[in-house]
Every structure is written in structure tokens, then in C-alpha cells.
């Protein structure tokens, strides 16, 4: 498993970017309502974030769900830590917690 290029790629993306969203579709063209809502939340927060489209290769999603132990897409990672899916991120955004986590992630990096 350690040599699986998909797993290595996912881990590297999570390590190299402060905020990573694994979504269906791209930042410009989300292909699912839940991915779109999650991307919208991070656009509003105004900090740079990376979006990885899981649709081109079904193995990305399979391997990712193994890493996070989470069955659905989107999945959000901040500073290498799994934060949650669309529902959790939306709730955290609404009660201001997400802005705090994001601001803190950028103040230390």
C-alpha cells in the first residue's frame, strides 16, 4: 500500500496544502450540489484552497475514504487534519468555528 501512487498523491496533496477539498468536479465547475456548497463556503472565507476532483478516477475516492474513514464526498482537510464533509463544514461555517480554524491555520503556516 505504501507504494500506491494514488495514496502517495493524496497524502502529498494533504501535506502540501493548508486547505484541501476533495470534491466532485472542479472549483470552477462543481459537479454535485454538496461539493458546490462546500467550495462556496471556502470561497467566502477568502483564503487559498486546493480542490481535487475525484471524478476522473474512481480509485481516488476509494483510497481517500480508506484514509479518512469517511464514506462521502466532499471531504475537507485543514493542515493535514480531516475536518469533515459538507454538513459539518456548513455547520462550522454558520457558527463561526470554521473561520477560526482557517485563520489559525494560516497564522501559523
Amino acid at each position: 500500500m505504501a507504494d500506491d501512487p494514488i495514496l502517495t498523491g493524496i497524502k502529498k496533496t494533504i501535506e502540501d496544502n493548508t486547505i484541501v477539498l476533495f470534491c466532485k468536479g472542479t472549483k470552477e465547475e462543481p459537479r454535485c450540489g454538496f461539493s458546490m456548497r462546500t467550495i462556496q463556503v471556502f470561497k467566502e472565507l477568502g483564503k487559498p484552497f486546493e480542490v481535487v476532483d475525484v471524478l476522473p478516477d474512481p480509485r481516488i475516492r476509494q483510497v481517500l475514504s480508506g484514509v479518512s474513514n469517511w464514506p462521502t464526498i466532499p471531504q475537507v482537510f485543514i493542515k493535514g487534519e480531516f475536518i469533515g464533509g459538507c454538513d459539518i463544514v456548513t455547520e462550522m461555517f454558520q457558527d463561526g468555528e470554521l473561520k477560526k480554524v482557517v485563520d489559525e491555520a494560516f497564522s501559523k503556516s
Binding site: 454538496f34 474513514n69 469517511w70 464514506p71 462521502t72 480531516f82 475536518i83 469533515g84 464533509g85 459538507c86 454538513d87 459539518i88 455547520e91 462550522m92
Partner: protein, 81 residues
């Protein structure tokens, strides 16, 4: 899968829980109140529910299951707002 089946499975797995499930066509949303959520992070609360539908989610019989998980105290708080 009917929303009522989803609600029953949740309520059976978490005794005392109250689950309201809506939706159709493989897309559902659930509001669940349970004392089993106490002391757990939101991620842990959602995993607890997703784990009950592992097979259906893998087979896409459930494509989306939006969750709102509340402890009884949070639910009281919400209804008093």
C-alpha cells in the same frame, strides 16, 4: 430505500434516539437527536450514523445522507431559540 427504514435503523441502533429522515431517489437528509452523541466530536457523531449504512452507501443505494446530529441538550436549546 424509504426514509422510514433509515429512521428505524438509526433508532434501533441508538436506543432512545429520535430520527427524522426526509428525501427520495437515493438522496436523504436526517436530523437525529440522541444521548449517544454526548462527548463525541461531530465527525465521530456522523461516523456513528454512516457506519449503519456502510453497504447501502457503498452500493449507492444511498447516494447522499445529509446529517444533523444533536444531543438532547442541543435539541432543547434549539427549540427554545
Amino acid at each position: 430505500m424509504e426514509p422510514i427504514e433509515i429512521a428505524r435503523r438509526i433508532e434501533k441502533a441508538l436506543p432512545g434516539a429520535k430520527a427524522d429522515v426526509k428525501g427520495a431517489d437515493n438522496h436523504y437528509s436526517a436530523r437525529i437527536v440522541s444521548d449517544r452523541f454526548e462527548g463525541k466530536s461531530r465527525i465521530e457523531q456522523h461516523r456513528l450514523i454512516y457506519d449503519l449504512f456502510r453497504e447501502e452507501m457503498a452500493s449507492q443505494e444511498i447516494h447522499a445522507l445529509a446529517l444533523r446530529t444533536l444531543t438532547p441538550a442541543q435539541a432543547d436549546d434549539e427549540s427554545n431559540r
